[in-house]
């Protein structure tokens, strides 16, 4: 024992791993999430820091549906890159062990959970993850972990024809009636991995008819890690809804109780035992890794009652371990602003992705040139749709002030795919970084990646060689510095000052302007969302009313070193001209500050 504890470790620089056995010390790094800039990265695609965990990495570099080798060591190695970009929080894709592959597609993204409590070995081990968290925290970069509570991977099949093997069976002869009016015996393909939704539960049947509930059969294919889930209590058939794949997305029952397409089996999250198990495993991850938040997948596929239980339990847990300001924001992949906001009702999530803004503003307005008045419509609905007061025991800010604003992510085409104009992206980024809420930048945006739908939008970042002197990288970095310098742009109240219905050659076409005010600090942002012509905050003789006192001189602080200045007129209005794709940030000249590093 003496040799082990004293002599041996002192020789040859021996490493004692035992400190890593225990959960890390819980530390707090967030004052106000509105100050943060989130960077979404897919671990498999960000950086490959350790080639020794490249199990099954595809040799075809263009095959983006397979593993490509990124890992936590890669994040550690490229922490300088993140810091140079100016992001202050990193959202990392799921950590848990996944089904390795399905139909030639890899589980690199992390959304096919097989083991809720172990680290996907493709990305490293628990030590590597903890080291990553520690390294990022040392740089004041917070870590948000992506989690999935709605479903597990394709771990079982429904034995519909009860032949004891997973089949894809073709039924029907394809015959029509004698007049060719309707299908008498249509052709139907039934996959026992992923059958269509049945509200009764998936039924066993053959051409002779039904025969009751189809047995759920767990699969043992360890060579692709398609094995029953861990912890073992998740191997309970009754913990799954067993109704098959969602086919009608407007049917709320299907959305909540159906399997996610791809055979991702829906957990019965109304079951208190399931709730308790999910609360336990995800509380465990917080304790084990000292992370600062959760990004939660597929929120609308889970009952509100679950979110009330889960979010409350997480708040209790983080309070019990001394973790402050733990953020939970969810993905409600929908265009219905009211539905999206409903998950921020009292006791539920701290925040959600601002999908309404993504579709109706970043897409309709910035990508496709729609009227900026759409922005006003959304803001008018904000208080009605989103939680307006802080959650008991949670963050100090109300959900309405914490929405996570994004241009694109791993589930939608990149901005430049749909609108391949860097200037359009640049001006959209200014809007994203200056409106209220928390900006979230999808990795590769700074490198002007332009991939289309999944998986084309999941390019390895190393294709960029991690260049930091490119124009978009510098643009994002400057916007991050601007937010650090002017607190009004992060915590300030938001007031829309000008939007327009015009999309032609009218004076104010494509213009949006707003103020952010935080006490004495006020900033005015004026944006020409399109590149069609110079526009202004004025139309038909009327000018934009602003919150500054008449005679206040405003200086343009973005673009940096612009030098232009404006004076608020005696009637409290201001006409600001913005060139095509130009965005200006102005502050009272008396409050101009040197840009923080």
């Amino acid at each position: 024992m003496i040799a082990r504890s004293l002599i041996v470790p002192s020789l040859l620089g021996c490493v004692d791993p035992s400190p890593w056995e225990n959960p890390p010390q819980i530390t707090n790094h967030v004052d106000d999430w509105r100050d943060e800039v989130i960077y979404q990265l897919m671990v498999d695609r960000f950086a490959n820091g350790d080639v020794n965990n490249d199990y099954g990495v595809t040799e075809n570099v263009g095959a983006l549906a397979g593993y490509h080798g990124g890992d936590y060591q890669g994040v550690i190695d490229n922490a300088d890159y993140l810091q140079a970009l100016g992001v202050t929080a990193v959202w990392v894709s799921p950590i848990v062990v996944n089904v390795e592959e399905d139909a030639g597609v890899g589980g690199y993204h992390g959304y096919w959970t097989q083991d809720f409590q172990n680290v996907n070995p493709h990305f490293g081990d628990i030590v590597a993850f903890r080291q990553m968290v520690e390294e990022l925290h040392a740089r004041d970069i917070k870590v948000i972990l992506d989690i999935v509570t709605n479903h597990v991977g394709q771990l079982f099949y429904y034995d519909i024809n009860r032949n004891g093997q997973p089949d894809s069976t073709v039924y029907g002869a394809g015959s029509q009636d004698s007049e060719g009016q309707f299908w008498e015996d249509p052709i139907e393909i039934v996959s026992e991995w992923d059958p269509a939704y049945d509200s009764r539960g998936i039924q066993a049947w053959t051409s002779l008819g039904e025969s009751g509930a189809a047995p759920l059969e767990w699969v043992y294919m360890p060579e692709i890690n398609r094995v029953p889930p861990n912890p073992p209590q998740f191997q309970n058939d009754d913990w799954y809804n067993r109704r098959g794949r969602v086919t009608e997305w407007s049917d709320l029952d299907q959305v909540v109780y159906g399997d996610f397409p791809g055979g991702l089996k829906d957990l019965d999250t109304s079951n208190p035992e399931v709730q308790a198990a999910l609360i336990e495993v995800f509380s465990w991850w917080i304790t084990q890794t000292n992370i600062d938040g959760f990004r939660i997948d597929t929120v609308k596929h889970v009952e509100h009652e679950f979110w009330q239980a889960f979010a409350g339990a997480m708040r209790d847990h983080t309070a019990s371990i001394g973790k402050e300001n733990f953020l939970m924001f969810g993905e409600v992949f929908d265009g219905d602003d009211a539905l999206i906001g409903s998950y921020t009702a009292e006791g539920e999530l701290d925040s959600v992705f601002n999908f309404a803004h993504k579709w109706q503003v970043f897409d309709d307005v910035f990508k496709y040139g729609g009227a900026t008045s759409k922005i006003a419509t959304l803001y008018e609905q904000r208080d009605a749709h989103y939680g307006t007061s802080p959650h008991p025991g949670g963050l100090e800010q109300a959900p309405r002030d914490l929405l996570v604003n994004f241009l694109d992510n791993h589930d939608v085409p990149r901005f430049l795919y749909d609108r391949p104009e860097p200037d359009a992206l640049a001006v959209a980024l200014v809007y994203q970084f200056t409106i209220d809420g928390i900006p979230c930048v999808y990795y590769g945006t700074e490198q002007m990646f332009a991939g289309g739908n999944d998986p084309a939008n999941r390019e390895p970042l190393w294709w960029s060689r991690y260049e930091t002197d490119g124009p978009m990288f510098q643009h994002v970095a400057t916007l991050a510095r601007l937010r650090r310098t002017y607190g009004a742009l992060t915590r300030g109240d938001f007031t829309l000052r000008w939007t327009s219905d015009h999309v032609g050659d009218e004076e104010d076409a494509h213009v949006v302007a707003f103020e952010r005010a935080d006490g004495d600090q006020v900033a005015l942002v004026v944006i020409n969302t399109q590149g069609e012509g110079t526009a202004a905050t004025a139309y038909d003789g009327a000018q934009m009313a602003v919150g500054f006192a008449p005679g206040t001189e405003l200086t343009v602080v973005f673009p940096v070193d612009d030098g232009r200045a404006y004076e608020v007129e005696a009637d409290g209005t201001l006409r600001v001209e913005v060139r095509p794709f130009e965005a200006l940030v102005l502050v009272p000249s008396a409050t101009v500050l040197p840009l923080l590093p």
């Binding site: 041996v8 890593w20 056995e21 490959n48 080639v51 020794n52 040799e59 680290v119 081990d125 030590v127």
Partner: protein
Amino acid sequence: MLVWLVSSALAGEPEEGFYAGSYGRIDTSTDLEGGGGDAVKVATWGPRLELDPYMELDLGWVQRAQDGARFKVLITPALSGDLFHYDGQWSEALAVRNLFAEASEFTEGAPLSAWAGSRMVRGDDVYLLDFWPLDELNLVGGGVVARPGRSEVSVSVGANRLTGSTWQYQEVVVQEPGSVDGQTVVALDRQRALGTLRLGVEIPAGDVTIRPRLYGEVHALPRGERIEVDPFTEPERVPMASDGGVLVGGQLSAWGWAPSSFVHVWARYASGLAHYGELTIPVDGLDREYRARDAWSFLAATAGNHETKSFSLAWGAYLYYKVDADGVVVDFDDRWEWVEVVRPQLFATDHLAVGLEVSHQHVRPNGLNPQTGAADEPDVVKISLLPAIQIERGAYARPRLHAVYTVSVLDAAARGFWSPSDTRLHGGAQQYVGIGAEWWLDSTRPLTPDAAPL
């Protein structure tokens, strides 16, 4: 080993003509629960008792020229793996371990030997653990040995080109010019160059001989380029960085105070490819350029035997620290190992002996066990009872028939080195009973240093 082979005929080698020899071992066992006995090993090298069957057959010819120059050709085919009579598969693995010609006594007055071909170049081993701590190199090439007086200087150079992956050699199918057919061409062919130097001297000290040795080994692999082959995409040329490694170490041996009694002590440092060994394709723990050059290891070891007419005590032990090239500090793959084994034996008659072997394996990884998430330090203790019938008294007297009963005690950390799904390891103690045999019949493998001095 090299010196012994080239310097003079071993006991079984004739002055001229054909000769044969063999080394072999074979064991079979039961776990007393209906299954076969299984090796229980958590360290890199474990007790020899649990090795798979193996056999070498030495076939040699010696010819002398009229002026006395001596030429020898040695061919050593070897078999390993489960035997046909056990698994019913006609599939024992065959390899040629020696295939070389050697010339000696060809220069009057100059104690030189030379060889060319394919051979094992080996020094002394830790018999009870079946490993060579310092000088063990298998290569195709040649060498020269000078043996002035009681000293030796030997140099070997050679190469290998391992197949089984696209690390050193790759063939691809390309379009045949002027045809719609495909033809196979070599896309990658990079040899690992190997070189060794060994210096030694025997120093008599009364009845005892002391022999210090220095040994060095160099591995060099040039850069190359392989082709990523995927039928659904254009072939892509992937550069492969050059790599290399060195091994340096020393050995101190003594023998002569009693028959078949000796002691060896080794220390060595190895880096890069030399750390992995010449027959290993390094696939784990590499740097981002897929190189092994930053891997290193330190090894200290000892082995020996002391015996009298009725008793012997053999031992072996090593202390090993290895670090791979991936740069990860808290790394389960980087570790300390220390292993000790002792085997006392009593010789009741000229042919009946009974031995007791006790061994201990300890591993101290620098990282957490990915299976348990703990800083596991497994310990395995084994005790074996070894009654034997052998050709004569002595720890190394062979041929020998033996029975063996072994119990292995594993702590929880050691059990954590096996998959929970592995039904072979269901408790903290494993046992087996077996019978086996081992022989050296005029083999080129010397048993003890006093059997083949310089």
